[in-house]
Amino acid sequence: MKKRLAILLFYVLLLAAWQGVFSAGLLPKYAWPSPLMVAEKLRELAADGILWPSVKATLLRMFLGFGISALIGLTFGMLMGTNSFIYQALRSLFLGLQTLPSVAWVPISLLIFGLKDEGIYFVIIMSSVSAVAISAADGICNIPPLYLRAAQTLGTPWHAMGYRVILPAALPSLVTGIKLGWTLGWHGAVAAELIKSSIGLGFLLHMGRELNDVSQVIGIMLVTIFIGLLVDRFVFGKIEHRIRRQWGLVSS
């Protein structure tokens, strides 16, 4: 309770500082709006029926794009987890790709797909697939061999090892990988929309800059943070915590 109060106090102070900079006129108005101006702009965007369709568009792209990415990543991860040659070869490749910022996939996506929506899916997939694949592969490689031997003596045929032992045993790291992949994919989605879309959170950011409307830019940034956190904490975070508690990896 005390901790929550402290966090609340911190954000109140942060807002006050924001307002303070505005009131003192340290920065020009076109670059530094007040919190109220941002709130008013968001209300306006919502009332005009612009905000929600944009949020929905970005989320839908993420569900489809990241869904495909997770499937591809898990498949590669499983291949890597079962064969040490594939593991070594692909791990170095994926680690390399992971160092690339999401937005660096946008130019190549423009060249391949033009302004079509497929390009956004491409950026989402390329930004997130490495993280999912690496976590899945590491999760499988770190399964104690004893589990496999025990399952073997208990009559589990080889073809059933995958879903009876390997997948459930690697589940905690699979979920961690998917959670990380989601965040990276989210970065990619907004980055791609910024440049090549007519709807979505990234597009609203772009529009805000075009219109020199700093309230919209900051407002959409806040919405992007908020939704990213919401999915991270309340969807994947909850699933992750639940699994870790069942396994006894955290105290409940």
Partner: protein, 263 residues
């Protein structure tokens, strides 16, 4: 009962001239040398030896997790070609699956017994959980159990598929003394009730004298059968019974004596 005269048909387990050589790039290590052993139905055989004498290797061969370099192993007259439901194994670690709760761990080995319905599997798992006195914990998560309870779940899991033979690879090594001693009584009780055959590997001579109908003493590097000590004491046996102690020191003498571990 001696080690020779392999009467493969009458015995539950039979090992004939079994050897195992491990090859690495630079060297060959003979872990087991020409082991002959017959285990009768319902018999509890304990294999003792120092660390590295190949006793775990012997167990892995019988379990079908590894193949002998030479010789043959039969279980119930059939050659051992891999793991089978007639031979269940308990490991040094409980090896329970943390993604399943207690009863799901016990039913794990029943999954491919297609003649059993889900309800029958549960019923059977409950029967064995009751036998190891863990009925109240069937819904518990694995990490909520103590070390001794985990090994009891592992025992129930090994019993559930109705194997003829249960193989034990030093299953009490990581338990504290009190828990371990309680387990000896429980294990004897379970085997008296279920009439299963047991092969138990340990380096603890007192444990061997307390649990075994016969104790196989292995030499080290390569592992050979030095001698077989019959334990003609009535059951259930107490770990601190003076007769058990006497036989334990006899086994220890055999283990150390006549040249000892040549190192």
């Amino acid at each position: 009962m001696t080690a020779n005269a392999p009467a493969e048909k009458d015995s539950r387990l039979s090992l004939v001239a079994v050897s195992k050589v491990f090859r690495t790039d630079s060297q060959e290590v003979e872990a087991l040398h020409s082991i002959n052993l017959d285990v009768r139905d319902g018999e509890f055989v304990v294999v003792v030896g120092e660390s590295g004498c190949g006793k775990t290797t012997l167990l892995n061969l019988v379990a079908g997790l590894d193949r002998p370099t030479a010789g043959r192993i039969t279980s119930g007259g059939c050659p051992v070609a891999g793991p089978g439901r007639d031979r269940m194994m308990m490991f040094q670690e409980p090896a329970l699956f943390p993604w399943l709760n207690v009863i799901e761990n016990v039913t794990f080995g029943l999954h491919y017994l297609y003649h059993l319905s889900a309800a029958e599997r549960r019923e059977r798992a409950r029967f064995y959980l009751d036998m190891v006195q863990l009925s109240p914990f069937e819904k518990a998560r694995i990490h909520e159990l103590s070390g001794g309870m985990k090994q009891r779940v592992a025992l129930a899991r090994a019993l559930a598929p109705d194997p003829e033979v249960i193989l034990f690879d030093e299953p009490f090594g990581s338990l504290d003394a009190l828990t371990r001693e309680r387990f000896y009584a429980q294990l004897q009780d379970v085997f008296a009730r279920t009439r299963r055959t047991g092969v138990f590997v340990t380096h603890n001579v007192r444990e061997a004298a307390c649990l075994g109908d016969r104790v196989i003493v292995l030499t080290s590097r390569p592992g050979r059968i030095r001698t077989i000590v019959p334990i003609p004491l009535p059951r259930p046996r107490d770990f601190y019974d003076p007769e058990v102690s006497k036989l334990a020191s006899h086994i220890l003498g055999e283990l150390r004596g006549r040249g000892g571990a040549a190192e």
